[in-house]
């Protein structure tokens, strides 16, 4: 049986579907679930809010790709507008625009999930097979030194000069041309992502995927799930209302989207924890000006990491992950503070800039809520401990830049801090670092519907099934009981694969 991938607007208004399982979202978690359920012979349908652009449509232009590939046209932010939250939209979810980093959940983090959060059966040993299989399917390999661009070389040189811990990253790309436009979708189809690897397998196995279709509400039937209601919208088309009856529904619409859907559906939440425990990995950048060209927009954006300030142990005061973070002109312009002539002067240094990012393995517990019309609201007020970590991380980035030979380092802040020497850096009062004082971005929303065996502290069981609603599963970053401390895609893929058997069992 061969499945279909079409717009939901191809269905008649008021269409009623009767299936074995529904998967909401087609990113890392949803695509694996779709495939595994279809391969198990189930009649499964997936819904995707965005569309399905093909690599031929990725024109490497920010003004065209940001609205196409990102939620709210790239304009999503925390409720107080302090942190920009970049999340994918469309078939493949964030795996379409991410920079292909493949890092397993650290053993220490999985141990904490087991010991502190009552997660059972998802420890390092239990997930080993799923990690290995996913990495094989996505062709995960270490990025070779000769593929490291000048911006990543700055980080490596800085680490070596300071004697700090660092090393190459792993990625999932085959046939990469090193264009440097990963975050705008790969025009060369080199990303071995959800839309290239998992979705075709799911379709081959008979899954049906409807794009441009937003699931508006979960339907409950007694103590279990009964299906979903959705609306298909496409420009120039009349919206179609769809209703789907199913005894299994898998939420894989991201840490923001899944919690928001659950909240607007009034999902039973006897302990008031739905949407809480939301993490972001908030990050900020430091720019270093060199006396030679860096042209950091070219080549693989992130191929090297610094883990000197990252320790996953519980209660650690080293919770910063440092990676290069170069952007194309619009992203770079918005990262540098100021305006007018002084800003343009800063932009003229663009080819000679290297940019590093400090990302916090955060402890702040944010919350996903829903506002008017059921739209998601992300409440996240960074706590003092995380602020201190971010300050530490930005100072470390500046030190790395100077050690690598930067002539001047700028911490984009209001006003910007410019540093020319280590002595100046040591003398700098970093207390200015915090929300609204520096531009902050987050690309890894997590938590909100955490897994665990204790229904007072978790929304779903370790199997991914909701504690109170039979047949309702979660299979995305919402599951994480804590921050991960690194790129989440591989862990989401692997967890979905690991949990799929429970979903199959329930649906079968």
């Amino acid at each position: 049986m061969t499945g279909v991938l079409v717009s939901g607007t191809t269905l008649p208004d008021g269409a009623r579907l009767d299936v074995d399982a529904v998967v909401v979202g087609t990113g890392a978690g949803g695509s694996v679930m779709l495939r595994e359920l279809a391969r198990a012979g189930l009649n499964v349908v997936g819904f995707e809010e965005g569309d399905c652009p093909s690599p031929g449509e990725f024109d490497q232009r920010e003004e065209n790709m940001l609205p196409r590939l990102f939620q709210d046209a790239g304009g999503r932010s925390t409720e107080d507008m302090a942190i920009r939250v970049l999340q994918g939209r469309g078939v493949g979810g964030s795996t379409v625009h991410n920079t292909n980093l493949c890092k397993r959940a650290p053993d220490a983090v999985l141990d904490i999930w087991e010991r502190r959060h009552g997660v059972v059966g998802a420890g390092p040993r239990e997930l080993q097979a799923a990690f290995e299989r996913i990495e094989r399917e996505l062709s995960v390999t270490e990025i070779a030194p000769e593929l490291r661009n000048a911006n990543n070389e700055v980080l490596r040189r800085g680490c070596e000069a300071l004697g700090w811990r660092g090393g190459p990253l792993r990625h999932n790309r085959v046939g990469c041309l090193q264009s440097g436009f990963c975050e705008l979708g790969c025009a060369y189809n080199a990303k071995q992502n959800a839309v290239k690897v998992m979705v075709p397998d799911a379709l081959d196995a008979g899954a049906r995927v409807y794009t441009d279709t937003e699931v508006m509400r979960l339907i409950f039937a007694g103590q279990g799930i009964g299906g979903v209601e959705a609306i298909a919208r496409e420009a120039g088309q009349r919206p179609r209302r769809l209703s789907v009856r199913s005894r299994v529904v898998v939420l894989a619409a991201s840490a923001v989207g899944s919690a928001a859907l659950a909240l607007r559906s009034a999902l039973p939440d006897p302990h008031g924890i739905l949407g809480h425990g939301f993490r972001l990995h908030p990050g900020a950048i430091v720019a270093g000006r060199f006396d030679h060209d860096i042209a950091g927009w070219r080549g693989i954006p992130q191929s090297y990491e610094c883990t000197e300030h990252l320790d996953y142990a519980e209660g650690s005061d080293r919770r910063v992950w440092i990676v290069p973070a170069f952007a194309h002109p619009i992203g770079a312009a918005s990262s540098l503070t100021g305006f007018g002539a002084s800003h343009m002067t800063s932009m003229r240094a663009y080819p000679k800039l290297a940019v590093l990012s400090a990302m916090v393995h955060d402890e702040t517990s944010g919350q996903v809520r829903v506002g008017r019309g059921g739209r998601p609201i992300v409440r996240y007020v960074m706590n003092d401990s995380d602020r201190a970590q971010l300050a530490r991380g930005l100072a470390a980035c500046a030190r790395l830049m100077l050690a690598a030979g930067a002539k001047e380092v700028t911490i984009p802040a209001i006003p910007s801090r410019r540093i020319g020497t280590i002595a100046e850096l040591d003398a700098l009062d970093m207390s200015f670092v915090g929300p609204h004082r520096i531009p902050m971005t987050a690309v890894h929303p997590m938590g909100g519907m955490p897994m665990g065996e204790d229904p007072r502290r978790s929304v779903v069981r370790s199997t991914g099934e909701h504690h109170q609603v039979r047949g309702l599963f979660v299979a995305d970053g919402s599951l994480f009981p804590t921050s991960l401390g690194g790129p989440p895609q591989i862990t989401i893929y692997a967890l979905a694969l690991h949990l799929a058997r429970h979903v199959v069992e329930r649906a079968g």
Binding site: F58, D59, Q60, R61, E62, E63, L66, P67, D72, A73, G75, S77, D80, M81, A82, N149, A150, L177, Q178, S179, F181, A187, D293, A295, W297, R298, G299, H328, P329, I330, A333, S334, T337, G338, F339, G340, A341, S342, H343, M344, T345, M347, R348, Y350, P351, G371, R372, R375, I414, P415, P435, H436, P439
Partner: protein
Amino acid sequence: MRECSDSVPVARRVALSRRRFLAASVGAAFIAVGSAFAVVRCRGYAPRRRRDLVALAVWEAVVIEHAARRIVAPDDAGDASVPSADDVDVVGLVDVWVSRLPAHLRRDLGRFLAYLEHVAPLGVGVFSRFTRLAAAEQDRVLGSLEMSSSDLLRAGFDGLRLLVFLGYYRDPRTFGILGYDGPLVGRPPGGWSPSR
């Protein structure tokens, strides 16, 4: 006693009516003055280029036009190679972009633009619309928003800045300022080597 007790409510009614009348009069005066003020303050917007706007109101487009000229003001006014915000039609891109934004973000933008146009100049001691100020005064107004003690105003300014940068730095004519070689898609093979 009855007379007395009867007379009190009458007196109260009279006093109440007078108070109400005064309150209503003052309220009506405020509304009239406010409306007149709003009408005066919201008229007279003429965009530099006549266009059919998709999402922005005319006054919003004009405010963005003025803000954009300052936000991407050239650092060397004599450098003819640097295109202006008007040259690259920043407003045109912003208009299309805004049409793709969710309603709540469009609403927030409109509120911020109204603040920038009518209220922010007061913060630097100028009683005029933003769009009628000289460039140096517009810079002071924008600077006051960037440095504002209000998180909300700083965030609003940052959002406006992002929209302007979107409209400006997407244009290949600005790539020369940056030494940026632009997208590879559509370029002839061999135009760029991955080896550096």
